[in-house]
């Protein structure tokens, strides 16, 4: 086997190259180290990243990892958040997926992290991100968050009689990812209940969320019960029957099955009444 060090020409080229390589690599992330950093953050150990790295990382992916770690490290301090914010602002100025990711986190800072949330600023950042890179996953996710802000804290109009769901529905049109469409449908439906909107306005969103599917945990069971009960309240016995039967098929032994059986009977009675001449 030919060793690179065996050929004199190659040796003269390779040795300085090997020495210079780390210096040339400044600005490009070492993949293993970066993967390790993301793994630590994904395992809720941001402190491991911050122990190794500081704010002056030069590659953009490493800067993003550092700022992401900084967001979740305990204790949360304004200084930590501001340092992360500064890095994110710098990264968000780019024109790639990483910039979109940073812009999304920047908006989250204003919505959730600072002691005094600035919902208007967060909304503005989500909107700007969606305008700049509409197809990015982070812009799409940002639209879900923007819609929730509009539903609850920065409505277009809070005047009595205003359709509070309409602004969120308008944003739904810009979301192409089915899972995010589902999540927003579900949120519009739940907000409709909290905001005491008519059942006819909110129920189609809950149905749409269920049709896209994939909701897990107790949220799935709750949704099927909810669709059974609210359909009955809305005077849609056929839909109520469908969901009651589905609940009983999926959760035959659960505590709510007893009442769902009663609701199913109620739905069937209503259907029989409707069918009667």
């Amino acid at each position: 086997m030919l060793s690179v060090f065996a050929a004199p020409r190659l040796r003269w080229f390779t040795l300085p190259g090997l020495i210079l390589l780390p210096a040339l690599a400044v600005g490009a992330p070492a993949p293993a180290e970066l993967t390790q950093a993301w793994t630590s953050i994904a395992n809720s150990r941001p402190q491991d990243v911050l122990r190794k790295w500081d704010a002056d990382r030069t590659s953009r992916p490493e800067q993003l990892a550092w700022a992401t770690a900084q967001l979740s490290v305990q204790p949360t301090t304004d200084a930590n958040l501001q340092a992360a914010g500064k890095v994110l602002t710098g990264l968000a100025g780019g024109d790639d997926e990483l910039a979109a990711e940073a812009a999304y986190l920047q908006a989250r800072l204003y919505q959730l992290y600072y002691a005094q949330p600035d919902y208007a600023k967060a909304a503005e950042l989500y909107r700007a991100l969606a305008a700049r890179r509409p197809e990015s996953h982070w812009a799409q996710l940002g639209l879900v968050k923007l819609a929730m802000l509009k539903l609850y804290v920065v409505p277009d109009s809070a005047a009595p009689g205003t359709d509070r769901l309409a602004p969120a529905e308008a944003l739904l049109a810009g979301i192409h990812e089915p899972l995010l469409q589902r999540d927003l449908h579900l949120q519009i439906g739940q907000a409709g209940i909290a905001l005491k909107q008519p059942l006819a306005r909110l129920l189609p969103h809950l149905v749409a969320a269920d049709r896209i599917g994939g909701i897990s945990g107790t949220a799935h069971e709750d949704l099927v019960v909810q669709l059974s009960v609210l359909s009955l309240r809305a005077g849609l016995p056929a839909q109520a029957k469908f969901y009651c039967e589905r609940y009983l098929a999926e959760y035959p032994d659960n505590a709510r099955a007893f009442t769902i059986r009663l609701k199913l009977k109620e739905a069937e009675q209503q259907l029989a009444k409707e069918a009667a001449p």
Binding site: I41, T68, L186, I193, G217, T218, N254, A257, F258, I260
Partner: protein, 535 residues
């Protein structure tokens, strides 16, 4: 020479002492580990039974996995466990696996902060079920109730954080000889009013004979359990009225918000009816029972000074092994619409569903041996592992396909009926529960009255309930915030190279869960703003 040797010996001794001290204060493991990996499993089920059951499962697991040693840590629950758990988790010294319960006051933030969701793992079959009836069935579906409690108590509605190892129900355990002596019959009460009549007979018997006998063995814990049961009957109708989302179930946050909106209070007739039933139960216990603990009630029962003890089937093994008389488990009859005292406020019978599994075990997010800890959990909740637990503990299994011993089969006979929600209106929040407990004496004794108790509660509750709803919101946000970093990190790992599909699934699952939790926090914020300044 001898002096030098002595001095050397002295320094050697000092060094050994120093090393030993260092080890004791900085490590929790033995100096020499017999196996490369040690995982620690902490729980508070120190009753007769469960430690034997877990030990049997550990023994078999260690035979199958020679690399791993599992240590069972038994920590008394009522007083020590919550503080012990928090300080260990905060200090990064928490065991790999830990029991946790939603009802432990002041610990609601723990799962979000310290535990790892198991949702993705639960969607896959449990490998230890190979060759059993549960083979190829997703792990989550192998549990008798499909993990009802962990799904309900999850801080994140899209995730499941725990698995359960047993199933418990609450029963009236009766000293049958004493019942016969007092009432002339061994028949179990069929209605709530039958039970009321038995308690009256016991009181009369004690007065006539001068014997120190009560209807119910009393302690703070047993009092709370029986209060929960009887209180919830009349609340079923209130729950139905407040169920705007159509869940057929009232989450604590909804009950708290409805109070702030003025939709119910402690003078609401059905709520007062529930408190009347609590008063009846409290009168059947010895005076001062609130100062006593569960063990005191057990001793009272063992001494033959109480006809019944109302407790969970988790005490059944202890009762069976330690009592000198025959103990018969009975069901406390639900209060029904034909009850002569409170029937007009009752819409129907409260249901127990088909049982709820319990003893929920969580995986410490900071565990150094997550894979091994998860593997042990899989074994403990597999058909063979859970069978060992059941056979050696006398507790019900949590897993389908496990054979239930004859003597505990009737613990699985459940009452069908309406569902209430997370809790009756005495424990829907920790602040409000404090107010309830501080004023409970107003319901007790000769001068105690429901009206006086309700007055005091409605005076103090608006502030306490507002605090509880704020805490609920804060705890939800506690969960939401750190998820941003995890979502971004999993997205990066998913993108690779190499692309990682499992990380992608995790990312999208977390995004959905986070959005749901955020929605809940917004809803709570809306309620707090809407009701600010309301009395």
């Amino acid at each position: 020479m001898r002096r030098r040797t002595r001095r050397f010996g002295f320094w050697l001794l000092l060094l050994a002492y120093g090393v030993a001290s260092y080890w004791v204060f900085t490590r929790s493991t033995p100096v020499i580990n017999e196996r490369p990996v040690t995982i620690r499993f902490a729980h508070w089920q120190i009753e007769r039974g469960p430690p034997d059951g877990v030990a049997a499962a550990i023994k078999r697991y260690e035979e199958l996995n020679p690399r791993v040693k599992v240590e069972q840590l038994l920590v008394p629950g009522a007083t020590i466990y919550p503080q012990w758990m928090r300080s260990n988790l905060a200090g990064g010294m928490g065991p790999d696996l830990m029991e946790w319960g939603m009802w432990m006051s002041g610990t609601k933030d723990i799962p979000a902060r310290y535990f790892e969701p198991l949702t993705a793992e639960l969607a896959q079959p449990n490998p230890y079920n190979r060759g059993t009836s549960q083979e190829k069935i997703p792990w989550e579906k192998t549990f008798h109730d499909q993990l009802l409690g962990p799904r309900r108590d999850s801080p994140d509605p899209g995730q499941i954080y725990a698995v359960t190892i047993s199933e418990t129900s609450v029963r009236l355990f009766c000293n049958i000889e004493l019942l016969k002596t007092i009432t002339g019959s061994v028949a179990a009460p069929k209605t709530y009013d039958d039970f009321r009549q038995i308690l009256a007979k016991v009181q009369d018997y004690a007065r006539r004979t001068g014997r120190l006998i009560y209807g119910l063995a009393g302690s703070r814990d047993n009092g709370l359990w029986v209060a929960e049961n009887v209180f919830s009957g009349p609340l079923l109708g209130v729950t139905r009225e407040l169920d705007d989302p159509g869940y057929l179930y009232l989450y604590d946050r909804n009950a708290l918000a409805a109070y702030l909106e003025g939709r119910w209070n402690y003078h609401t007739p059905a709520v007062e009816a529930g408190m009347t039933l609590i008063q009846e139960m409290a009168k059947a216990m010895k005076p001062g029972f609130l100062q006593l603990l569960r063990n005191d009630a057990m001793l009272e029962f063992f001494r033959g000074e109480a006809v019944f003890i109302y407790t969970g089937t988790y005490d059944a093994t202890t009762l069976r092994r330690m009592s000198t008389f025959k103990v018969v488990p009975m069901r406390l009859p639900s209060v029904t619409p034909d009850d002569p005292v409170v029937g007009r406020y009752v819409i129907g019978i409260g249901g127990e569903g088909s049982g709820e599994t319990g003893v929920a075990i969580y995986l410490n997010r900071n565990s150094a041996h997550k894979a091994e800890a998860l593997d042990f959990l899989r074994f403990l909740t597999s058909v063979p592992g859970n069978q060992l637990f059941t056979d050696n503990s006398g507790w019900l299994p949590s897993v389908n396909g496990v054979r239930v011993p004859d003597e505990i089969k009737n613990f699985r006979e459940y009452q069908l009926g309406y569902t209430l929600g997370q809790a009756p209106f005495d424990i829907i929040g920790s602040e409000m529960n404090l107010v309830w407990n501080q004023n409970f004496y107003r319901l007790m004794g000769e001068h105690g009255s429901v009206g006086q108790f309700a007055d005091a509660l409605d005076q103090a509750m608006p502030v306490a309930i507002r605090k509880d709803l704020q805490n609920e919101m804060r705890n939800t946000l506690l969960l939401v915030r750190p998820q941003d970093s995890i979502i971004v990190a999993t997205a990066e790992l998913a993108a690779g190279p190499p692309a990682d599909e499992a990380q992608s699934v995790r990312q999208h699952g977390m995004e959905a869960g986070q959005t749901m939790s955020e929605g809940l926090a917004f809803q709570m914020q809306l309620e707090l703003e809407k009701t600010a300044g309301k009395k």
